[in-house]
Amino acid sequence: MLDVIVIGTGISGSFVARELAGFNLKVLVLEKNNDVSNEATMANSAIIHSGYDPIPGTNKARYNVLGNAMYKKVCEELDCSYKQIGSLTVAIDDEQVETLKELEKRSAINKVQVQMLSREEAFAIEPNLAKSTKAALLAPSAAIVYPWELAIALIENAMDNGVELKLNSKVTAIEKMEEGFKVVTDNGEYLSKLVINCAGVYADEIHNMVAAKTFEIIPRRGQYFVLDKTVGRHVNHVIFPCPSKMSKGVLVTPTTHGNILLGPTSEVVADKEGIQTTMKGLEFVRDHANTIVENIPYHKVIRSFAGLRPSSDLHDFIIEEAKDVEGFIDVAGIESPGLASAPAIAIEVIRLVGTRIELNRKDGFNPIRKGYITFAELNAEEKEAIIKVNPMYGQIVCRCETVTEGEIVDCIRRNAGATTVKGVKKRVRPGMGRCQGGFCEPLVIEILARELDIDIMDVNYDSIGSNVLVEETKIGGRSHERI
């Protein structure tokens, strides 16, 4: 019997898994998709909010502020991107200036340091703000990260420390037994003392498998644009509009890798798989982004995407043991500021686990994970040296992002390694640049086929059955068999 099963490898599940890895526990993480961190964590604003914005007294407020303070250390330990660039909330009329003043008061209650800037002060540090800007609220503790990099690194570190991961394992039933739970997936059955539900948009359905319904997840879609790195300096901070009831609004932010991100929309959708971008949604992003930042170079858009926030009808994080089922812990409704809150949420989850099982710290737990060598960031001597040691670092695969074969092979061979084109893209970036994989995808699938020792026709783009190549010509047509 396992000690803990974690369901889901988004940012919540990944932080929880890594915390659990620090104790002498038998831990299994179940992920329904063909790769870690493929849903909301793959499609969000990547912001570690400062925490002034949530309503004081809520879980959101509590965990946001705690989590924000933990991020720098975690990212250092895991060798993940983290840039504390600060955020500016922009007021473009007098009413909004009043709102900023309210936010200033709220930030004091939440114990978050902010600073009100005059129009001149705002323009001095952010020249491309909308001309109608009257004032701005600076929150220096806001930061940006690379969310799926972090989730993958957390799972990798957890696995390095003994946690087990099973992909393509969708939970279909959970049975409460005398001792613990039987968790049934489409890929095996497991017995565990405790179950931690980090299932994102499906957290309500997972909860309802074994407990009485207490919340509902209402997916809210956010659509985004990504701009090319050549215009990456258009803004220096995360730029927010004044918040409304529904959402933090359409923001404009740099990313850790030098792009600009615009978005998101906030649309309730019926379909939990409804991650389409729409013409209307993207228009909405443009119209609203233009109200806070000037001259956005839309001709430099390289990609648009969308994701679903797992919002709960209770409008706050649900981090607690199910009232009617001992040992079943929910981590649900983790919408914004979920990313910022995740490390602190994980600590709370450990506390809850500790009320049910004895926790003994693992000897030899290694919290350090060394990241991939980012060839593009090495200096001339370092580049020269690494190629001598490993010639694969001398073979450029992705010209747009300067990614070498060495990094790609590394990201395939590690724990929680890439097995798909998108997996390689998430980890070391081929396909994230201006040609969006046009030149490098054929090379990436050859490397995947070789490293995984599979036929090139079986290389998937993302999920199983999303093969890149459909048929080999001129050999009597061996067609790809759909699984």
Binding site: I302, R303, V421, G438, P442, Y461, V470, G477
Partner: protein
């Protein structure tokens, strides 16, 4: 640091033609740098014919055309490096290169020829709405998979964009056993050559949907279908014209973009309309001693013009190395109404060899029976009757040098419509 007389970035048709010309003019300290496993550039995957009618007076396939130049390179023993990527170029003509054998190296050129070619516009760049499954792929990448490696990326295919690559792939995939459901084009006219419409679409009964666009991609893991809609004159979808197509691949042929990221590193001035470097009649860019030719300068439709242009660049390189330079400011060229862009953007007429100044341009629209009017500082100097102009077909004008032999001024070309009777 090794300094070469000439470093050529790109071993495709532009780089190869420039190299051969430079060698024949007596400069032999050349190095061609190519990131692929072979020379020939994009021609190697352009296995169809239609190349060489001007250059060789024969109709050749892409690889055959490339082979003519590759054979010359081998014969003349012009040095080249394969599998080698240029990471950076500086204004001082230092080049940072990398491959797995030599490692990371810095070399210098007295002159540099930029011949990096272009890339394809992507689904992301056109904000194609819908899901983002496998099977949405640019036509050039699909062409690489099929022609270089032998794999089809779909068996039931829809194509967005009627540029030549889309048309060529419609035929190619049909010949290899795929079903091509149709080609959609946003504009009311095709972006490709008429011969391709006939030989790639009509021959195989593949429908061409002009003034149409794909408004949604459907499918979770792999693409399952698209929604096609008609658009109005402002390119907006017309409600009620939705058509659904089931497909397992969507090929995009929605434009080519000169690949000037390296040029921008060297602070070379880029022209907004061509997306390529601003050059003079020697094909020299705004940085002394750095030249540009081929698709990196402006997107060509005939590789024959690329070879001619690259030879001009080669001769420009040789003149530069000999220290020959113009002493006047030169003429600036400007596109007039009906003309999308003109290359070169600057001309020193006293530096031009031969009788004619050559300019290359594209029209903004399809025109029949019009006149291209060449003006110098607003005054008409030459007229060219054109029975047919299309944005997809680059025009080549030869203007008598004596008509524009001034030290400075503005040369413009505009489309004059036929007067209504």
């Amino acid at each position: 640091m090794r300094e070469y007389d000439v470093i050529i970035i790109g071993g495709g048709p532009a780089g190869l033609a420039a190299a051969v010309e430079i060698y024949k003019e007596g400069v032999t300290d050349i190095l061609i740098i190519e990131r692929d496993i072979q020379l020939g550039g994009i021609l190697q995957q352009c296995i169809h014919n239609g190349f060489g009618l001007h250059e060789f007076k024969e109709e050749l396939t892409g690889p055959e055309y490339a082979q003519r130049f590759i054979d010359q390179i081998r014969e003349l023993k012009i040095p080249y490096k394969l599998n080698t990527t240029v990471l950076d170029i500086t204004k001082d003509k230092e080049i940072h290169i990398i491959n797995s054998i030599d490692g990371y190296k810095m070399i210098k050129g007295k002159t540099i020829v930029l011949a990096m070619g272009c890339r394809e516009r992507t689904s992301g760049a056109i904000s194609l709405p819908g899901t983002r499954p496998a099977g949405v792929i640019t036509a050039g990448t699909a062409q690489y998979y099929l022609n270089m490696k032998g794999y089809l990326v779909g068996k039931k295919v829809f194509i967005l964009g009627s540029g030549d690559i889309g048309l060529i792939m419609a035929r190619r995939m049909t010949l290899e056993g795929a079903l091509v459901l149709g080609v959609a084009e946003l504009l009311p006219f095709s972006g490709g050559l008429t011969r391709n419409i006939v030989q790639c679409l009509h021959d195989f009964d593949i429908p061409l949907y002009l003034s149409h666009t794909v408004v949604e991609v459907k499918g979770k893991d792999r693409i399952e279908g698209i929604t096609l809609m008609e658009v109005d004159r402002n390119k907006q979808p017309i409600p009620g014209t939705e058509q659904e197509f089931e497909c397992d691949a969507l090929l995009l042929s929605v434009g080519l973009i000169p690949d000037n990221e390296l040029s921008e590193n060297a602070e070379i001035a880029i022209h907004r309309r061509t997306n390529g470097p601003i050059v003079n009649e020697q094909m020299e860019t705004s940085v002394e001693g750095i030249f540009a030719c081929g698709n990196v300068l402006h997107v060509h439709d005939l590789v024959d013009f690329v070879s001619a242009e690259s030879r001009r660049a080669g001769r420009g390189v040789v003149r530069y190395l000999k220290g020959e330079k113009s002493h006047c400011i030169g003429i600036e060229t400007m596109n007039g109404s009906g003309v999308s862009y003109i290359v070169p953007q600057r001309m020193h007429v006293d530096e031009i060899e031969g009788k004619y100044a050559e300019v290359f341009l594209r029209s903004t629209d399809v025109y029949h029976d019009v006149t291209l009017v060449v003006k110098l500082d607003g005054k008409e100097v030459k007229r060219f009757k054109k029975p047919h102009l299309a944005p997809a077909e680059m025009e080549h004008l030869k203007i008598d040098k004596e008509l524009i032999n001034v030290a400075s001024g503005t040369l413009s070309v505009e489309v004059e419509l036929k007067e209504a009777n």
